[in-house]
């Protein structure tokens, strides 16, 4: 088995008496989709925030490509190859779709200090941005204001921005959130193909999508990983059933 691309080791973080993440160790290997599921309040957001660098863990380590990134800022983690999407679209709403994608391309270049030449005329940037938009199927809408996009289109744009960075690992926070059945299906198909480019750590509520996509699933309850395994393992796991009792598993 290859070395993991992304891994956490005994990650813990408390808020007062509450252990939001408790000794969490997970890993993400090349080519896979690893889904994290769990009931509301299980600590999924806290985990994501720690991996992306918004929250510092109290204990534990995070590694990307074998390098310790625990103490690095969000910005440096992104440069090191971590591509994140947000649960609630974090896009520049006043700007066009194309401009949002350009921002990603600019991030990929790592140097925004260009003050004179118009960004539009910068062919290298435009090409990266356009390619990502085409990949998610938003090339047609490139000149629309982001605020005017449909919810589904925003989710697509969210992924497109992450794509421009050509990350080594994706960290996706509920990409299906708010999508209808058809939108969800379309996104599932898209993510399915994406794992070839880089593995995806997927936090998701939509169980149909999770079961359709995931190579492995980890279940997070009260801040702890209670089970990790293939889709079939998880379906059968008694502890998971107990934790989800009353939920439609």
């Amino acid at each position: 088995m290859s070395d993991p691309i992304l891994a956490t080791h005994s990650l813990s973080r408390s808020f007062g008496a509450l252990k939001a993440t408790d000794n969490v160790s997970i890993d993400l290997r090349a080519g896979e989709i690893h889904a994290i599921i769990g009931p509301n309040g299980a600590g999924k957001s806290t985990l994501i925030q720690q991996i992306s660098g918004v929250l510092a863990p109290d204990q534990g380590r995070i590694e990307l490509l074998g390098e310790d990134i625990t103490r690095l800022s969000t910005v440096t983690r992104a440069r090191a190859g971590l591509g994140r999407t947000f649960q609630i679209s974090a896009l520049a709403m006043e700007d066009t779709v194309f401009e949002n994608a350009m921002l990603g391309a600019l991030g990929a270049r790592g140097n925004p200090w260009s003050f004179w030449r118009a960004a539009k005329r910068d062919t290298a940037l435009s090409e990266t941005a356009l390619a990502a938009l085409e990949q998610v199927g938003l090339a047609e809408a490139r000149d629309m204001r982001t605020a005017d996009l449909s919810h589904g289109q925003r989710r697509q744009l969210e992924v497109a921005v992450a794509l421009t960075l050509a990350p080594r690992a994706f960290l996706m926070d509920e990409p299906m959130a708010g999508l209808g059945a058809s939108g969800s299906k379309q996104m599932t198909g898209f993510l399915d193909g994406l794992r070839a480019e880089a593995p995806i750590l997927l936090v998701e509520h939509d169980m149909d999508a999770v079961f359709a996509l995931a190579d492995r699933i980890s279940v997070l309850v009260y801040g702890q990983i209670i089970a990790t395994g293939t889709v079939d393992d998880i379906r059968k796991d008694a502890a998971v059933r107990a934790a989800y009792l009353g939920e439609d598993l």
Partner: protein, 327 residues
């Protein structure tokens, strides 16, 4: 409804036409008013880069205006008294040359903006507004008690500084200089806005978290914007001092910082021509309403309220029918 580009041409043409008309009918004071409008517009163009593009509500931009003013005042004072300026063990001659003064004003303001920005950008929101205000107050009180350069009385410079090939004492020629600098700053602003830097800064204003996740540092983007902004406002300060041939601590006052924001909001936040339209209107109102009633501030207040409550995009927003960026 009118698109932004023709509007820009229209406004600048009008700002140029008024003093030319005044020259023809021999109304030199109108030229002075137009020069004042152009200089205030320049200062506001500077602020607009921080405010409109970077979303930095700085209630302390008078600091840079004042620094520019004092850069002019101090250099010209030493030139007019034939005493060298002793600083850090160096002995520097004063100067009455505008290009040198402009360079110094811009550099020193930029340096101050870098320092203030570095500290202030640790905070955000209301705290940012208030810490910039605090820096403004520090400079204000410092200038008041700085007796070497006149303290609260300020410094009078008896003859306007010179520019090679231009007779700056002739109002229309001095106006031309200010107008040219305003146009240059507007051009720079337009380039910045379209450049990758502007793109990233715009995003940093709207969604800093997103900018971070693509690997760019939003605080650094804002800091650079703040420095460029401070430098331009500082340049305007040097011109303003030359217009009045006088500098005083009021150039550092928080009311002036407030007025600069007012100019921009009247015109349109984050719009290229917002500061210019705002400054022209402000100067006109001040002159015209001030002539009608000594209580003209009441009317200014009401106009301002109406704009904030009912015309969020400012005048540019009304004219173009498009909403501007949100700050």
């Amino acid at each position: 409804m009118i698109a932004e580009r023709p509007l820009a041409v229209l406004v600048l043409t009008a700002l140029l036409a008024v003093p030319l008309w005044a020259l023809a009918v021999d109304e030199p004071f109108t030229i002075t008013l137009a020069t004042r409008a152009a200089i205030l517009a320049l200062a506001a163009v500077g602020l607009n880069i921080a405010l409109g593009m970077g979303g930095l509500v700085s209630l302390g931009h008078a600091v840079f205006f004042g620094i520019g003013g004092y850069a002019m005042g101090i250099l010209a004072y030493h030139a007019q008294t034939y005493t060298p300026l002793e600083i850090f063990g160096l002995s520097i001659e004063g100067t009455k040359s505008m290009p040198v003064i402009w360079l110094v004003a811009t550099l020193v303001s930029a340096l101050a903006a870098w320092g203030i920005g570095l500290l202030s950008l640790r905070t955000s929101g209301v705290y940012f507004i208030m810490i910039t205000l605090a820096f403004g107050q520090m400079f204000y009180y410092f200038a008041i008690s700085w007796s070497a350069y006149g303290g609260e009385d300020g410094l009078s410079i008896y003859v306007r500084n010179g520019f090679p090939g231009v007779n700056t004492l002739v109002p229309i020629q001095f106006f031309a200089l200010c107008f040219a600098l305003l146009c240059a700053a507007l051009f720079l602003n337009a380039r910045l806005q379209a450049a990758p830097f502007g793109l990233a800064l715009n995003a940093a204003r709207q969604v800093p978290a997103r900018v971070e996740t693509v690997g760019l540092n939003p605080v650094r983007l804002k800091l650079v914007a703040f420095v460029v902004s401070g430098a331009i406002t500082g340049l305007a300060g040097a011109l303003f001092a030359d217009l009045n041939r006088f500098v005083s601590p009021t150039m550092f006052s928080w009311q002036l910082s407030g007025e600069l924001i007012v100019l921009i909001v009247i015109g349109g936040v984050g719009r290229l021509m917002g500061p210019v339209i705002g400054a022209c209107l402000f100067v006109t109102l001040e002159h015209w309403l001030g002539g009608i009633t000594e209580f003209w501030h009441v009317f200014l207040g009401v106009i301002l309220l109406l704009i904030v409550l009912f015309a969020r995009g400012g005048l540019v927003g009304l004219l173009t029918g498009k909403e501007g960026p949100h700050v």
